[in-house]
């Protein structure tokens, strides 16, 4: 079989994301959701599904009273530090590796099969190994974030570099630009939109990974919180944690989106 590099699939902008629902319908839809939730919780009982009201109360009290060592914002912040560390290292490693893969055919051909195989091992499968190597804590969670975040960055950087019109670097060389300058002033800026596509995928992959790592071998963080909620049988804590996970994920995606517009003012990102 041929081992070809594929663009991270979720990174492909879908042609038809014009799925807009008008604000009144959004409100109606979400209200419908709350009603269904409420009715369902009355049917199955609060032990399995607490009412939206109970969850709201738990959410608010978790924001002020610590549970499992920290308040809910504290757990989110704790997860974010691990996420940030792993993600930052993934960018620092992934972009240069991606440039090397894109710019040097030999490097790409040599490492693609190994890289592709490793990529097929889900990041979570590394968790037991990470715990064994680094113990259950900050470092192993950051390592898992790194494992989850680095492949999309490498791949989309490589794709971005490979797709640069080959006349551009030649023109730059003809006009007297050196190798390093061609990379930093031609290849990287032209590949930037592609790199950012990978970074956005990496952001959400990494966030998912940190939650999983904390659930399996954590001592704090929002993933640890929801597992604590499950172990003590308090579903409202679990759902509050899930809301925090979803909201934080949405916020960091939004920040990266804004950032990408700042970095690439010439391209209006969707």
């Amino acid at each position: 079989m041929t081992m070809s590099i594929t663009v991270p699939t979720s990174a492909r902008p879908s042609r038809t994301t014009k799925t807009t629902v008008s604000p009144p319908w959004v409100v109606t839809s979400l209200a419908l959701f709350v009603v269904i939730w409420f009715v369902a919780s009355l049917i199955v009982g609060p032990a399995l599904l607490p009412t939206p009201l109970t969850v709201a109360q738990t959410f608010i009290s978790l924001c002020v009273e610590p549970l499992a060592g920290l308040t809910l914002p504290g757990h989110v912040a704790s997860s974010l530090t691990r996420w940030g560390t792993g993600f930052l290292i993934a960018v620092l490693v992934g972009v240069p590796v991606g440039i090397a893969f894109g710019a040097f055919t030999y490097v790409r051909e040599a490492f693609t099969p190994v890289f592709e195989f490793l990529r097929y091992i889900p990041p979570f499968a590394w968790i037991p190994l990470a715990i064994l190597w680094m113990g259950a804590g900050q470092t192993s969670a950051s390592f898992i974030v790194f494992i989850a975040a680095v492949p999309p960055i490498i791949i989309s950087t490589q794709v971005g570099i490979v797709n640069v019109d080959h006349r551009l670097p030649r023109a730059a060389t003809n006009l007297g630009s050196g190798r390093a300058r061609t990379v930093t002033e031609i290849l990287v800026p032209v590949a930037m939109p592609s790199i950012f596509t990978g970074i956005r995928v990496a952001v959400s992959n990494g966030w998912m990974a940190v939650v999983a790592a904390e659930m399996i071998g954590g001592t704090q963080g929002v993933g640890f919180l929801i597992i604590q909620g499950q172990e003590s049988g308090d579903v409202s804590v679990v759902i509050s944690g899930m809301i925090a996970i979803g909201a934080t994920g949405a916020v960091i995606d939004w920040i990266v989106n804004i950032l990408s517009r700042q970095v690439m003012p010439w391209r209006r990102s969707k």
């Binding site: 190994v114 097929y120 399996i216 944690g241 899930m242």
Partner: protein, 271 residues
Amino acid sequence: MSKDAPARRTARASTNRVPIQRIAIGAGTAVVLIVIWHLATTQLRLLSPTALPSPESVVARIVSLSYTPYLGETIWGHAWASVQIVVGGWLLAGVVGTALGVGMSWSPLVRNLTFPIFQMLRSVSPIAWIPIALVWLGIDNSARIFIVFIAAVVPWTVNSMDAVRSVDPLLIRAAKTLGAGRRTLTEVVLPAGLPTLLAGARIALGNAWTALIAAELLAAVAGLGFVALNSSRVLDTPTMLAAMVIIGALGVLFSFVMLRISKVLAPWAKN
């Protein structure tokens, strides 16, 4: 002119060496890395065998676990347990996701009512559903099928939405004008949308596999993730790496099989 330049550049980059040479370079690197791994663990002893056992001990473990049961089953028995759950949840998600996606792109009422809920729920990663699945369904297979379902249903839905909407309305009108009638659906909409749907199915299977491994690490009584976690608790690193290797190999296999299926079902798709 400038538009097709990148395509030419890419084509040139991948065809300037014959495939056999490319495979040789790739395989050569893999062999070199495995030899380094071998030397680092057995000759130089840079790492303790608990931290990283030698590659041959991992292979030996895969072989011995093929006939000696580990935690109730052989390693292939565990692999089969994982595969069954992933395929079951993935198919279930396919039925629900395709119906939902087609419904959302077909009917404005369905879209208005369900799309905001869908967007809100998908922002919660499938992994975060594991604790609640455990509360609701226990450590049964059903909890893991549920997690696989949550992970797989999003790409199924999104791509079936895209599949329906990507069909050029002009084609549909042309077919109708030419008297296609009901055949519009089978001969225009389906062939035009099928590649997008199959791409969604492939992403869904990959996501499902990833999510299942996480679920098995947390709560399971069989499966490769279960093997990996239990072996790590007793510092049995060869078994843990054996499980990781098989997890990766099955991931490759799933992707390969889905590509083959896509080529058979929709040979007209642009890759």
